[in-house]
Structure formats: structure tokens, C-alpha cells
Amino acid sequence: MSAAVELRGIGKSFGETRILEEIDLAAAQGEFIALVGPSGCGKSTLLRIIAGLEQADEGAIALDGRDVTGLRAADRDMAMVFQSYALYPHLTARQNMMLPLAMRRLNATQRLPLVGRFLGSARSILEEMARDVEQAAATLKISALLDRKPAQMSGGQRQRVALGRALVRRPQAFLMDEPLSNLDASLRVHMRAEIVELHRRAGVVTIYVTHDQEEALGMADRVAVMMNGRILQIADPMTIYREPAHLDVACFIGSPRINLLPLTIDAAGRGICGGQVLVERANAAQGERVTLGVRPETLVVHAEPQALSLKVAVTRFEFLGSDALLHARAAGLDAPLIAKLTPAMATLLQHHGELHVSAAPEACLLFDADGQRIAGTQTSALPASFGRASHAA
């Protein structure tokens, strides 16, 4: 079976600025793919190219194996949910949802105001459209809102109507452009679940653009991380998090941000930072500039110096409820290091002015000067330091 949506070598420039570069992406039937990246990375442009709202300069797009590269948006049978919802303010929710059906199912004469609805041919179609709208509204629990105009609805309600407008058409693909970013935090979490549920029920490929990594990780089957017009990595959420292919991916995904330590490699292939050996086997040549990435929850904190540990000074303690963060600063390093600990552990350690941190070899993510992951440093499928970090004190 061919991919539901397939992009090959998509490139796009606006004037001198290169927006997209060599994008390849294949989404299987029913798959939920999140495009995530910082703002300006080109993800929205990519989505609009998939939708047909923009034309790519290079590359091809296929839907279910059918090449649609040159087709207009109206001819691609995809539905899109916009960040601003883009509901027609002069139409009620019902009319908003009806519009795409009318555009596709009725011909020009039948669409004429007043006259159209008296044409015999139109009547049955209109009834069927009304049924479809009712049904979609019921699914989204917005039946009561159908006769309201967008201005009379809350943000969450508009969001649902926008989803309804996409859903009612039963398109071949859903495209969503940051659909949740205008909602408040609690509603956002709630809607995530609903959208995933809708996706599951509709069984249609969904491409979801977001700048929120949590949303991407939590909702998608696969996440494509984009930066500077390129897809750096596309994989399932856990792989993205645990085995980032690129330094930028590692930095972008994960909160608090991954700790980065510059390493110099000695003749023995050991990674050294601040005069301390932190990594025994770095898989890199001597003199190469390597960056060590350690997720805050895998950073191991010790009261006394250990082998492969770095001396740091505690600067701040941050209590988050279920976790606590310990901020520390190492001599010669600009960025503070952050360790995510249990609150109990953190409380215990916070008054030590001086601590020592290390990371298990399997938790060490090494990146070369170009930001590419250096393979072979992490082997285990489980977090390396899981359950061990706090005992060293």
C-alpha cells in the first residue's frame, strides 16, 4: 500500500531566503505525524505546500500514490484546521460546516442564493449535507452551537467548529496548523486527547504542525523535527527523545533543556571537560570538538568526587511538585547545568555548596562538531541511569 501522503525533495524559497530544503516525508494511511520545530523553521510553509496553498519550487507530492504536485488546494481533498480557526464570521457554525460540502457537492447553479435551494436536484443533496453536519456536530458535541456565529462562541467552541468543518468533509487527510495554540493551558491538554481520539476514529492521515514539543510527543505516532527548512529527524516520540539524531533535536526536545558540555578528546579517545574526564570512550579522534549532552533526569549527582565526575557549585533550587531542579555551575562553563531529581533528594543536596555530577556512559549523548550524533555511545533501550542517580550521595 502506498503512503497516504508522500513528499519527495520539496524545496521552497521566498526571494533570496531558502525556506525549505530537500524535504522527504512519507506518512502511512491513518498515521498521525507531528511537524515540530521553532518558529520560522518552515513547518507551516511545508504544511501549506502539502495543502496546495503554496507551490513548492522543487519536489513532488503524492496523495495515495497519485501525484498532486500541480493541483490546487481545492482539488486535493484535504481539510485544514488553522491556528486562527479561519471560521467565516458572517456564517453560523452550521453554515461554516456546510460551506465545504456545498462547494464540492453542489454545482454553480445549485449554489445560487435563494434560487438554488428550490432546484429539485439540490434538495436531496442539501438534506444529506444537513445530516452530515448534524452528525459531525454530534461527534464534536457542538450540536447546541450550530446556529451561533463565531463571535458568539468561546475559543474552545470555535476550535471545535473548525475541527467540525474539517471533519464533515471526510477528507483524505487532515492538516492542522497549530490548532491548539490559541487555547488556554488546561483546555489545550484536554483538546489534545480529543483530537487524538478523533484521529483514531476517522482513521485518516493527519499532519499536525506545532511548536510545542509536548504536544508533538504526546499526540503523534511519529514526530518530524524541523529546523532551518530541513527535517532533522523523523521517528517515533521515544526515539526522538532518547536518540536524537542531531544536537539541535536534542536541544529542542525535552524540558528542561538537555545539559550541554563541550568536550575535548585526548589521545586515548576520552572526553574531557574542565580538566575532568567525563567520557571514557568517545568514538572521536583526538582534538575533535565534541559536545556531550546529558538529559537533566540522567545527570547523576554526588556529594563527593567520583570517577568521571565534574565539580559544580549549586546556584539554585527549584521545586516543581513532583520533581525538583537543581541548578549548578561548573567552572569554565557558561551555561548552568540542571539536574532533575526527586524533591527529597534535591532538598538534601541543596545546601551542599559544592557537588559533583556525572552521567552513565549509556546516558551520554555525544555530538560531533557538525551537531551529528556520534553513534555507539548509547546502547540500552532504557534510560541508563534510571533509578540509580540519587543513591550516590
Binding site: L53, A74, M80, Y88, P100, M103
Partner: protein
């Protein structure tokens, strides 16, 4: 001002809906009363100069106008008689006044649709591409800032029946020349032509502001929804979204067109045979030339009442159709 703007929103519409007040968190208590009183006092003080001016320049003159309109007052003649409503009945049978009324209506009826539609077309054309946008915007706006009286002189030359460039051009393409300002059948359309020329640029800028305020996503949504042609996108998005702007543009155009005076005063003085007599010109003639202040006042009162009625009806009817809240 325009787009989501002040005017289109409330110029006439809300003849005062409940006002959104500054949010106040604190519950009402004794201290609040003091603060409220302070605020009210400040508000009155701030509005005082305006209120005084309103009294002097608006309320009293209006009252005086109504009072004068019921008399046969003449400037420079000390005695006057109270006519009461007869003054208005006289107007109803005054053929010249009725003609001037009709002429004004015809003028407004010619200028408004043409300048609104042309203004919209220009705005859409300018917005449709990127080349020379700023240039065109300025060029089409020029007539708005050009002095009406001055340009009227130019138009008089352009429309000259024997050597005016317009007729010379008509002759070039084999059309008969037109007696623009000298024929009682053509003079109103000719004046309307000048009126349209002057109003289009202004309407265009209003529409440009309106277009700039349309959420681009709506076009994308319409395209996704299957609106293939520019034509159907226009009817799905642009036109309904411009509703409030259009209402505002129409209102402004009507108000300005009803007040046509400069071109008439400069070019035709109401002629030939009163066929370009318009309300303001008639009021001016009656009041300041014939010095029949009473009659002129009655005409002015009718003028105001008709203008108000017109705008009220227009907004009442259209308001509901263009506001989406």
C-alpha cells in the same frame, strides 16, 4: 480608522448599546462611591470644553434654525412673521426646492454606487499584485487632496464644449461631442463624473484598509473548502468580510455627495435652468443671496431631517447584515 475601525463599527449603528466599561475587580463599598464620584467629576471637567462648544456650535444653532424656519425672516428686514408649519407646507409646493431635492437625489444616486464599486475594484486590483502598489495608491488618492474648486476650474476646461480635451478625444474616436455643463440633461451626470473622480480614491483607501484587515487564513480556508476561482473566493470571503467597510464607505460617500456644493458653485451655479440646483446651493441662494433666512432655515431643517432619516434607515437595514457579532 477604518477597518475593524471606529467608524464602521459605531458611526451610526449602536445608537448606544450597553457600554463596555473598564473592568473593575473590587466589590462595591463605601470607598468605591468616593472613587466613582471623583471619576465622574474628572469626566465632566474633561468634557466641559467640548460640552460648551457643543452648546454654542451645535445645540443653540440647531434650535435657532428650527425657530427661524417657522418664520418668514429676511436678513436686514427687522420685522418678521410667525408662519408655523405653513413654512414647511410652502416648501412642499415650492417647485424649485423639490427640483433641487430631486437633483441632489439623482447626484447621490449616481456618485455613490459608481464611486463605491470603482473604489472597491481599484483596491482589489492594487491588492492583487505587488508591482507599483504605493505608486497607484498615491495616484488614485490625488483627486481627494486636490482642491475641489481648483479642480472644478480644470474640469470646466476639460469639459468645454468646443475646445475641451474631452470632446476633442470623443471626436478622435468618432463620437459626437457632448455639451457637458450647458445641457440640462447632461449637467448632473457631468457633475457626478467629477464627484466620482474625487470620491473614488478615498473609497479605495478605505477598502484597502478593509482588505488589509482580512485574515489571510480565511482565503486559505476557502481554498481548502473548494473555492477554486478568484470569483468564488471573492464572494465567500472578501465581500462578506468587507461588509462593515462597505457600509462605512457607502455612508461616508452618501454624506459627502449630499453635501455637494463646490462644483455647483464653481461650474454651473445651479444652471442651466436650475437643472443642477442641489440642496446646499439652494439653501445658500435662498439664505445668503435672496436673504430669505426663514425659508432657507426651513430648507436646512428638511435637509438635516432627510439626511438623518437616510442614514438611520440605511444603517438599520444594512447594519444587521454586515455585523457578525
Amino acid at each position: 480608522m477604518l477597518r475593524d475601525g471606529p467608524l464602521r463599527e459605531d458611526l451610526m449603528p449602536e445608537v448606544l448599546p450597553p457600554e463596555d466599561l473598564p473592568p473593575r475587580g473590587a466589590p462595591r463599598d463605601a470607598a468605591r462611591g468616593e472613587i466613582d464620584r471623583h471619576e465622574a467629576r474628572a469626566a465632566w471637567l474633561l468634557s466641559l470644553p467640548t460640552l460648551v462648544l457643543m452648546l454654542l456650535l451645535l445645540v443653540l444653532p440647531c434650535a435657532a434654525l428650527v425657530a427661524l424656519s417657522l418664520t418668514d425672516a429676511e436678513l436686514g428686514v427687522p420685522e418678521m412673521h410667525f408662519l408655523g408649519l405653513d413654512a414647511y407646507l410652502n416648501l412642499l409646493t415650492d417647485r424649485d426646492f423639490i427640483r433641487s431635492f430631486r437633483n441632489t437625489a439623482v447626484y447621490v444616486g449616481l456618485v455613490t454606487p459608481a464611486s463605491v464599486v470603482l473604489g472597491l475594484v481599484l483596491a482589489l486590483l492594487i491588492e492583487a499584485g505587488t508591482d507599483l502598489r504605493a505608486f497607484f495608491r498615491s495616484v488614485f488618492f490625488l483627486p481627494v487632496v486636490a482642491l475641489t474648486v481648483a479642480m472644478a476650474s480644470v474640469w470646466q476646461y476639460l469639459m468645454h464644449p468646443s475646445f475641451g480635451p474631452i470632446n476633442l478625444m470623443l471626436k478622435l474616436v468618432g463620437l459626437p461631442s457632448v455639451n457637458w455643463l450647458g445641457s440640462s440633461d447632461i449637467v448632473l451626470p457631468a457633475l457626478a463624473l467629477i464627484g466620482i473622480w474625487q470620491a473614488v480614491g478615498f473609497n479605495m483607501v478605505l477598502f484597502l484598509a478593509g482588505l488589509a484587515g482580512i485574515n489571510r487564513d480565511l482565503y486559505a480556508a476557502a481554498e481548502m473548502d473548494g473555492a477554486r476561482s478568484a470569483w468564488s473566493r471573492f464572494w465567500t470571503v472578501t465581500w462578506p468580510m468587507l461588509g462593515p467597510t462597505t457600509l462605512f464607505v457607502v455612508t461616508i460617500t452618501v454624506i459627502n455627495a449630499v453635501k455637494v456644493f463646490e462644483t455647483v458653485a464653481t461650474l454651473t451655479q445651479g444652471g442651466p435652468a436650475k437643472s443642477s440646483d442641489v440642496l446646499l446651493w439652494t439653501i445658500y441662494q435662498e439664505g445668503f443671496v435672496y436673504l430669505h433666512v426663514g425659508t432657507a432655515s426651513a430648507m436646512a431643517v428638511v435637509f438635516i431631517v432627510v439626511l438623518m432619516a437616510l442614514l438611520l434607515v440605511q444603517t438599520r437595514i444594512l447594519e444587521r447584515k454586515v455585523h457578525y457579532t
